[in-house]
């Protein structure tokens, strides 16, 4: 291997690692706030990539229907179950956010699909359509289980994963798709060729990590979300609506997932079920961070990306095996260091 190849692999690894970092951050975010090990995170990646690909090919993405159906269902369930949701103010707000918003997105998608309006319109629309799925899924699936043990939540998460993969096949078919590069340019820096795509990926990821850091560290809403994660009863006692915190966490996770999908779509062919393996790599990174540490999770994600890139050069058949094997020494080390089982119930 000469330095040029090494640099190329490193660039590739860091670029993929940046995307795994977004996924790891989402998993940590969802777990700390809701205690859900969020298996379906990868589906948001696939939905993001494939929704954008649908716009590029001029077809209407089925995810827009899903958003409307889930939103309407969440609204109906709220009305049926929660008396407080039936006050005129709350009902109107619910109607606007759960029915009219996805309806507007559906109309926008309907309008945009055949017209090829370009990434400036299609990317935000894609992100919006996928991001709203997060809160709806939380309210329909996880809020009724909010007090359940982690294992029950995990099983529900697996259920959501299976349902979303199936729906993905229904919406997008079995074929894989790739989208046009977001920034079609290359630069030669010394011996290395830097692609526009990797610059976009690293820039967006870096920016998002900074934005999340600012949000959680410096805004009252962000601190309230953290407080919910630290002490759920304490959060309720100061009046933080903890179920809104859960919906917000899944909304952010869906947004980050969709964004990861938009970022990988130009370099990887994405199938309806690609999200799972991509999500698992983010999961490996999140586990290395103990599911609670954002910086450790992000750093581990870059490591996962680099290992994957070099593994695919030296032993491409064992690429996935090598990546997932990293988790074993980490788990051993963690369990030796903290002998207590992580069972809170």
């Amino acid at each position: 291997m000469d330095p040029t190849i090494a640099l190329f692999l490193a660039q590739d690894g860091v670029t993929n690692g940046a995307i795994y970092a977004l996924l790891a951050l989402s998993l940590v975010l969802v777990f700390t706030i809701t205690r859900v090990i969020f298996i379906p995170q990868g589906e948001f990646v696939a939905y993001g990539a494939l929704t954008l690909a649908a716009f590029e090919t001029g077809t209407f993405p089925g995810t827009a229907w899903l958003a409307l159906i889930l939103g309407t269902a969440a609204f109906t369930v709220d009305l049926a179950r929660d008396r407080a949701a039936r006050t005129p103010r709350r009902a109107l707000r619910g109607l606007a956010l759960d029915v009219l918003l996805p309806l507007a997105l559906l109309a926008a998608a309907w309008h945009a699909a055949p017209r090829h309006l370009g990434p400036l319109v299609e990317v935000p629309l894609t992100l919006a359509i996928v991001a709203v799925l997060g809160p709806y899924i939380y309210r329909l699936v996880f809020r009724p289980l909010a007090e359940s043990p982690v294992l029950v939540l995990l099983i529900a998460a697996v259920g959501v994963h299976l349902a979303l993969v199936g729906l993905g096949l229904l919406f997008f078919g079995a074929e894989g798709h790739r989208t046009a590069p977001l920034l079609d340019a290359n630069w030669t820096v010394g011996p290395a060729l830097v692609t526009g795509q990797s610059v976009v990926v690293m820039g967006v990821t870096g920016g998002l990590i900074l934005a999340l850091w600012g949000f959680f560290g410096h805004t009252l809403t962000g601190k309230a979300l953290r407080a919910t994660a630290v002490n759920r009863l304490g959060a309720r006692l100061v009046g933080i609506p903890t179920s809104a915190a859960g919906a917000m966490a899944l909304g952010l996770a869906a947004l980050l997932g969709a964004l990861s999908g938009v970022l990988i779509a130009p370099v990887t062919t994405v199938f309806y079920d690609t999200g799972f393996v991509t999500g698992l790599k983010g999961f490996v990174a999140a586990i290395i961070g103990g599911l609670i540490s954002y910086p450790l999770g992000a750093a581990a994600a870059i490591l996962v990306g680099l290992v994957e890139a070099f593994a695919s050069f030296f032993a491409s058949t064992f690429k996935e095996v090598i990546v997932f094997t990293i988790i074993i020494p980490v788990l051993l080390w963690r369990s030796l260091r903290s002998p207590h089982a992580e069972d809170e119930e």
Partner: protein
């Protein structure tokens, strides 16, 4: 405002088949300290948790004449109830100041929490010294102060304190209870639950004695403190504890 700030009528709470609180009625007025004393397991903490909405309960609960019995915790906080829980329930990994600022979470967004924060720091100067420190690193007394300060950040009309003296050294207990007595002057209605009956009755205006889920005695705090039945059951043995 006529009538009590908080009125509970025939409140019952059960854990499965066990009735922990059976038909308790009590009232708290603005600017008054009402204490509920009784042995461990008498249902005092359960009663407070029911009043805050942490536990489901039957019976009526009126806050300023309006029923809050169906409101979730968050709505009760917004209405003006605050509970300082027995276990404090602080945000351990977050700073003292963040804990306090989150206490004002339900205040209108336009309001500047800085003034309330200054008041809390005036009341608890030690919290100001430790403002940047993680809440989990505080001593027991400081944690209790932080829990009270955080509750006060919501500018409550009713402040419910669950065993504020629990696990604290006698000197700190005196300091905390002295602060509770001072808070009365701000016009807040205080509902104080204590095992340390002697100390609680000393600062309270009115008292209730709970035994196995029901109120067995009630009256002005000074009268209760001199009641032979109370002295025999709750004060006699506590001679050196307060």
């Amino acid at each position: 405002m006529s009538g009590p700030t908080l009125a509970l009528r025939d409140v019952c709470v059960s854990y499965g088949k066990i009735e922990a609180v059976r038909g308790v009625s009590l009232e708290v007025d603005a600017g008054r300290i009402v204490t509920v004393v009784g042995a461990n397991g008498a249902g005092k903490t359960t009663l407070l948790n029911a009043a805050m909405g942490v536990l489901p309960a039957s019976g009526s609960m009126l806050f300023r004449g309006r029923s809050i019995a169906d409101d979730p915790i968050e709505a009760r906080v917004t209405a003006g109830l605050s509970l300082v829980a027995e276990k404090r329930e602080l945000f351990g990994t977050m700073s003292v100041e963040d804990n306090l600022r989150l206490g004002a979470y339900t205040r209108p967004r336009g309001e500047r929490p800085g003034d309330t924060l200054d008041q809390v720091y005036t009341l608890f100067p030690r919290l100001k010294e430790r403002r940047g420190q993680a809440a989990g690193t505080l001593s027991g007394g400081e944690r209790q102060m932080l829990a009270m300060g955080r509750a006060l950040m919501a500018k409550p009309a009713v402040l419910m304190l669950d065993e504020p003296s629990l696990g604290l050294a006698p000197r700190i207990v005196r300091e905390i209870l002295h602060l509770v007595a001072e808070l009365r002057a701000t016009g807040v209605a205080i509902l104080l639950v204590e095992q340390n009956a002697r100390a609680a009755l000393r600062i309270a205006d009115y008292g209730y004695v709970m035994e196995t889920g029901t109120v067995t005695l009630q009256g002005p705090a000074a009268a209760l403190a001199n009641d032979p039945r109370v002295i025999e059951s709750y004060l006699g043995a506590a001679e050196s504890a307060a």
